[in-house]
């Protein structure tokens, strides 16, 4: 499929080099949130979950060398570019863009409202250098930078696992990172903004979930739904000791719902709730 000559496609293409150390363009394609399934099948749902606007995909070929693929997404906002980046944080830091990882021949980074993936179909020392080089060219070409979602700055810093902060919108992605329930008991959708953070070490790891709803009434309804399904034994106290001896606590403040899962103590859970509450509106 040839690239459609859309403005969005042209803008994204302008960030990607046409050639890199012998690799030249084999194919360009442009997709949007409806057509992405033609390119990556069901995996397209991941990108739709972050409200993707458009994708420019460029394949590079060089005689006798593995194919390189650049997938550059315009996510519409820096929050969603950051969120998509946090979907998969495994890998080493590649010092590219505003955050990056490299693993298995794949370099991913975010910058401004863009998320980029540069991938070698076969990883060799040469393709690794090419992947890094192309990614840095794209990074240089994208002049804008963006802010992380405001919810991220509200997280309590003590014990925060900074490489395990996820930002997303919907129930499916929540369960991807941290299973809560099959039913959408937190009433998440594409209009909710969610940050999920980890605290403590691997053996004693608690999770802090902060959800911003579009209004107070929605937040109230979501908290009510969550408490009824997940912690009916809390009996309105908003905190309960669970079967494994840890604590789960939930509270609403304005249009935020704040939940602490697997806290090692009641005090820890309550401190985390209070920390977030004191930062609302700041």
């Amino acid at each position: 499929m040839a690239a459609r000559p859309t403005d969005q496609g042209r803008a994204l293409a302008s960030f990607i080099p046409a050639e890199f150390t012998g690799w030249t363009i084999e194919e360009d394609q442009v997709f949007d949130a409806e057509t992405i399934f033609k390119y990556v099948d069901g995996t397209g749902e991941v990108y739709r979950s972050y409200n993707m606007k458009s994708l420019f995909a460029r394949r590079f070929a060089a005689k006798g060398k593995p194919v390189l693929v650049v997938d550059l997404f315009d996510m519409g906002t820096s929050a969603d570019a950051f969120g998509l980046f946090t979907h998969d944080l495994d890998g080493e830091d590649a010092a590219t863009g505003q955050g990056s990882t490299y693993k298995g021949g794949l370099l991913s980074f975010w910058k401004g409202r863009y998320f980029a993936s540069v991938y070698a179909e076969d990883e060799t020392p040469e393709t690794k250098q090419a992947v890094l080089g192309i990614a840095r060219k794209i990074d240089e070409a994208i002049r804008e930078t963006g802010e992380k979602p405001a919810l991220v700055s509200m997280l309590p810093p003590e014990g925060l696992q900074t490489k395990d902060i996820r930002f997303f919108h919907n129930h499916s992605v929540l369960n991807y990172h941290f299973f809560v329930a099959d039913e959408n008991i937190l009433q998440l959708d594409q209009t909710t903004a969610v940050v999920l953070a980890s605290y403590g070490d691997k053996d004693v790891r608690s999770r802090l979930l902060v959800v911003r709803y579009s209004g107070v009434a929605k937040a109230e309804a979501a908290l009510d739904s969550f408490v009824k399904a997940y912690m009916p034994d809390a009996k309105g106290a908003g905190i309960v000791q669970t079967e494994d001896g840890n604590w789960t606590a939930a509270r609403r403040k304005d249009c935020l719902v704040i939940i602490v899962f697997q806290a090692p103590s009641r005090e820890f859970a309550e401190d985390q709730l209070r920390w977030i509450e004191t930062r609302i509106g700041k």
Binding site: F37, Y39, V40, D41, G42, T43, G44, E45, V46, Y47, L55, A57, V69, D71, D88, D90, K103, G104, G105, L106, S108, S117, Y119, E121, D122, E123, H171, S172, N175, Y176, H177, F179, V180, A181, D182, D203, K228, A229, Y230, M231, P232, T242, E243, D244, G245, N246, T248, F261, Q262
Partner: protein
């Protein structure tokens, strides 16, 4: 690994896939129950020569593996006689393959199936191999029998690219089945043009992908040469067995229990919610044949 108490998240997760676990939490009552039944047979066959030095399937070995698996599964010594118990000469047969560019079903597996369908007496003009064109392919539209063959692989949205999922191309709008990370894919098997037609399922485990990364959902780093086929009449049992292999490989590779993300719950829900087959290890009679090095389960 230290013992951990079962938490309400564990209960909720179990309740979504296991018939009785919901009884532990009042809010989750009403889960379906399923009476104990006979075990479902699944054959796992491996051969160290299934792939050549370049990773290409060896056609003769693949044919031999398929034959041995099918005869064992169906309890018939001769492969042609075995196939004749599931395919009739008057059948019109669609071989549902998978053409994903990085790990396809492979021509060798397709042709091994094709050969035995021909041997069962079906004329070539009434057999077709297809993936994305099944809704318009005249053979598939008139099919009385399907053979379902696809590779097992980690998948960013459904957890695992499975035999159950392979039938998504029988729907006009595949993305309509992506809800709750593909939870209800098994319902596709109830569609009028699909229901009751599948005679055999072949989960290709020659080079499974055990971890998915990036938009391409693929990296060679997370592929290994398992050199196996999993064969069953029950797609759910075959998928559940393939999943066990992939999860074991993940533990081996990552050095820790690293569950698939997202959870491939469509496999378990195909059992507990949709009753397409069985997923519990205790309900599956697994017959392992051939090469045992690195079998993992």
């Amino acid at each position: 690994m230290k013992n951990k108490a079962m938490t309400r998240r564990d209960f909720i997760k179990a309740a979504s896939v296991a018939p009785l676990a919901g009884a532990f939490i009042p809010a989750l009552k009403g889960q379906p129950t399923q009476a104990a039944a006979e075990k479902v047979k699944v054959v796992l066959i491996r051969d160290k020569d299934a792939l050549d030095a370049f990773g290409t399937p060896n056609a003769d070995v693949i044919q031999r593996m398929l034959d041995e698996a099918v005869t064992t599964l169906l309890g018939e010594k001769d492969p042609v006689k075995a196939w004749k118990t599931i395919i009739r000469p008057e059948d019109t047969v669609g071989i549902k393959t998978n053409t994903w560019k990085y790990i396809p079903t492979t021509t060798q597996v397709e042709q091994a199936i094709m050969r035995r369908v021909l041997d069962a007496g079906v004329p070539e003009g009434r057999i077709s191999i297809d993936d994305r064109g099944v809704l318009t392919n005249p053979i598939f539209k008139n099919a009385t029998a399907f053979v379902n063959a696809r590779p097992a692989r980690a998948h960013h949205w459904s957890g695992m690219g499975s035999l159950i999922k392979n039938y998504i191309m029988f729907t006009a709008n595949p993305s309509a089945w992506h809800g709750d990370t593909c939870a209800d894919l098994a319902k596709i098997w109830d569609l009028p043009h699909v229901k009751g037609r599948t005679r055999l399922n072949v989960l290709v485990m020659l080079t499974p992908l055990f971890h998915a990364i990036g938009p391409q959902n693929y990296s060679k780093e997370y592929v290994w040469e398992y050199k196996g086929l999993i064969v069953s009449r029950d797609p759910v049992a075959a998928d559940a067995t393939g999943l066990r292999v992939i999860e074991a490989r993940r533990r081996e590779f990552f050095g820790e229990d690293k569950p698939m993300q997202p959870t491939p719950h469509h496999i378990f829900l195909a059992d507990t919610r949709h009753h397409l087959g069985v997923s519990g290890e205790d309900r599956i009679e697994l017959v392992k044949l051939g090469w045992t090095d690195g079998v993992l389960i």
